[in-house]
Amino acid sequence: MQETLDRLIREVLHEDPQVWAGSWVVYAAALLAVGFGLTVFGALVAGLTSWWERRIAARMQSRIGPNRVGPQGTLQFLADALKLIVKEDLVPPESDQMLFRIAPYFVMTGFALTFVVLPFGYHLSATRMNVGLFYLIAVTALVVVGIMLSGWASNSKWALFGGMRAAAQVVSYEIPGGMLALVPILMAGSLDLHEIIRAQGGFPWDWFVFQTPWGFIAFFLFFATQLAEGNRTPFDLPEAESELVAGYMTEYSGIRFGYYFLAEWGNLWVMSAVISTLFLGGWQVPFVSAETLAGWEAAGTVPVAFYGVSTAVFVTKVVVLMNVIIWVRWTLPRIRVDQMMSVCWKYLVPIGMGLVLLAALTEVLSFQLFGDAAKGPAPLGTPRGALHLAFFAVAGAVPTVLFFRKIFRNIRLTGDRIDLTNW
């Protein structure tokens, strides 16, 4: 981002960025603009996701969901936000006033800071940190601070339970999360999100998820840890409606309550973006191989359309993953607190360690076998390419076919038929 700003100062303002006193003003203004833009984007995405989740959840429960406010109900989230703003924002008198008010902003900043690093397309992200993923894991810890604060400050036993559960859950799931993220990092060899994406190819069998079987397992387990980090079912213990009334949000009302929901639905986008970056090849466009991309960059003639297409591909992957997260929420029940801890420490951590070991071994082995061609997407001709294609056929294509066959069998079994009316 900084070079673009420097180029801008040189060409437009004809000043030398290093020397000119006013350059920090330009940087500050740019930062403000991009920061504001990304936060508004996060809020809009959270709002639309809330409408979309309620529609998908309704459809899965044989209902319809909100379709009265705006065309097909799309402005429902504006109506909700307005209602929350107008509603009385009650701060319980015997609660810890200051902490009670600050807690939602911790959660909001934790959510907004992740956008600094998240890619949106080829070269499209706020910054290109070389410690991108490490930064991401660090920043999501802020959300936990916010939840624990709200749990403690509300002076309500339910909120306390919710806060303590959040502390136990999110903190303990970061360890397997970090470990499982190591698998794609080992494959890609860098922490920078864009580098990780570059190390994967456009076609599915070049993605890290289908390159190796442990990458495949790591994908599912990493998905589970991200569910736990985002407090989504089956790990939504901190905000368990049926046990803890509303968990850490019990005493909140008005727009303060809205912040939590904004952060939770916004987190959906962040989770999906991270997973699709690490495992599903981010913004890699299928028919553009690494060589052609390198050629364009060398010649500096990257077609503008490529930016658009790469962003489109990235957004579709993220939306598909968000639907999977929503779909999981409206199917699986919630696990108990001690089961949640035993899943983390008895299943995710040992298996995570095993996967990292295997990933490291493959790197060393493939480096010995294929030399420096071991990195990056392998063309189909080479043995590695064939290996990837075979594994993709087994682990990717066959289950998808089985899946759709089972869907239509389920519909036939209850005597229903496919009917997309009654929206």
């Binding site: 049926s242 046990e243 607190v337 089961q339």
Partner: protein
């Protein structure tokens, strides 16, 4: 799992003063009505949960002494509004016993059909809310959707969807509308398939099983001692069904077998006879059982009048007392009626299944976690109106 054992068997002796007293209710998302549990907890693990009832006490028994025999029928709906047909039938049986009145066979069959449909509807709510209390929200709308079909069927039969007031002293109020039977049969076939899908979605779900298997096991002797009845008793392995032990109405003509608890969750998952999953799964099997009963009743529906023509307009039974026992959804519902010859009952007592089920919660909830208390309440299927009357 060793962790669970350590976690649950903590002692609460010396550090009792750090105990947290938590008021779970009376307005709480999963206490199934207006019930309150004073939970003595140490962190997530509860020392005990003392139930506190009476928030929905409308003193139906006092009203029974002020209203005529026929006038109490709509009040009997409110004894357990999820199983109003059984309350109607219990009250009608008691008064008929006092009057020595015979119910014509068609009336008895219509009572059996309406009761068993109502049993399915009430069980569907129990299954759906158990799944929702464990956190799976989707099974609840599926259960409600099937219940809507039953509500429509019963609404066509007697005009109301929840508080039916369908039975009368000496029979039932209306006959079956002409096009009702084929609709009912069509729904029964559809229901069998949907129940299989419900099982595939939630009953065999591993997380659901792990949450309920081996939880709050009630052995048979303890169940009998605490007076449990209905699915809660049968889930503990006691093979007692009032419709079989003391047949009334049209039940002798049907072949059915109330399901017994057999550690359905599977021994590998720690499932035992009489645990929460058994109580849940016994209700799923009972839904199937009731569906077969309704189908048999529809096949053998006799002709003739549906209410005894000699039923008195103003019932004035001779002095005396009786107790009629009905196998309601939540166990044995018994009406103990004392009459003194006037047109109003001298004393009316309703013994209900949820009342004794609440009595056992304090004993069984020792050492459970708060999330388990929610699962225990859902598995016992207690409902506030039946407890407080």
């Amino acid at each position: 799992m060793a962790l669970d054992q350590i976690f649950i068997t903590r002692k609460f002796g010396p550090n009792a003063e750090q105990e947290m007293i938590l008021n779970m209710g009376p307005q709480h998302p999963s206490t199934h009505g207006v019930l309150n549990f004073i939970v003595h907890a140490d962190g997530e693990v509860m020392e005990k949960a003392v139930p506190e009832v009476g928030y929905l006490h409308r003193s139906l028994e006092k009203i029974g002494e002020m209203v005529s025999y026929a006038g109490f029928m709509p009040y009997s709906d409110r004894v357990d509004y999820l199983a109003a047909m059984f309350a109607n039938e219990g009250w009608a049986l008691a008064v008929e016993k006092l009057l020595g009145l015979e119910v014509p066979p068609r009336g008895q069959y219509l009572r059996a059909i309406s009761c068993e449909l109502n049993r399915i509807a009430s069980h569907l709510i129990a299954l759906g809310s158990t799944a929702m209390d464990i956190g799976a929200v989707t099974p609840f709308p599926y259960a409600l959707r099937e219940r809507e079909s039953i509500n429509d069927l019963i609404e066509a039969l007697c005009g109301a969807r929840l508080t039916y007031n369908y039975h009368r002293i000496g029979g039932v109020a209306y006959d079956v509308p002409p096009d009702w039977t084929p609709l009912c049969r069509a729904w029964l076939d559809h229901f069998e398939k949907v129940l299989d899908e419900f099982d595939r979605l939630i009953s065999t779900n591993e997380i659901f099983l792990k949450r309920l298997a081996g939880l709050a096991v009630i052995p048979a002797a303890m169940a009998i001692d605490y007076g449990l009845s209905g699915p809660n008793l049968r889930a503990s392995g006691v093979d007692f069904d009032l419709r079989k032990a003391h047949p009334y109405g049209a039940y002798p003509d049907f072949q059915f077998k109330a399901p017994i608890g057999r550690a359905y969750a599977g021994l590998s998952r720690g499932g035992k006879v009489g645990d929460c999953y058994d109580r849940y799964y016994c209700r799923v099997l009972e839904c199937r059982e009731s569906a077969t009963i309704v189908r048999q009743a529809l096949d053998k529906l006799p002709d003739g009048d549906f209410i005894n023509p000699k039923a008195p307009k103003k019932a004035k039974p001779p002095a005396g007392e009786t107790q009629s026992r009905v196998e309601s959804v939540r166990g044995e519902m018994a009406y103990y009626v004392v009459s003194d010859g006037s047109e109003r009952a001298y004393r009316l007592r309703v013994r209900t299944g949820s009342f004794t089920a609440m009595g056992i919660i304090e004993e069984v909830s020792k050492g459970l976690m708060i999330a388990d208390l929610v699962a225990l309440i859902a598995s016992l299927d207690v409902v506030a109106p039946e407890i407080d009357r």
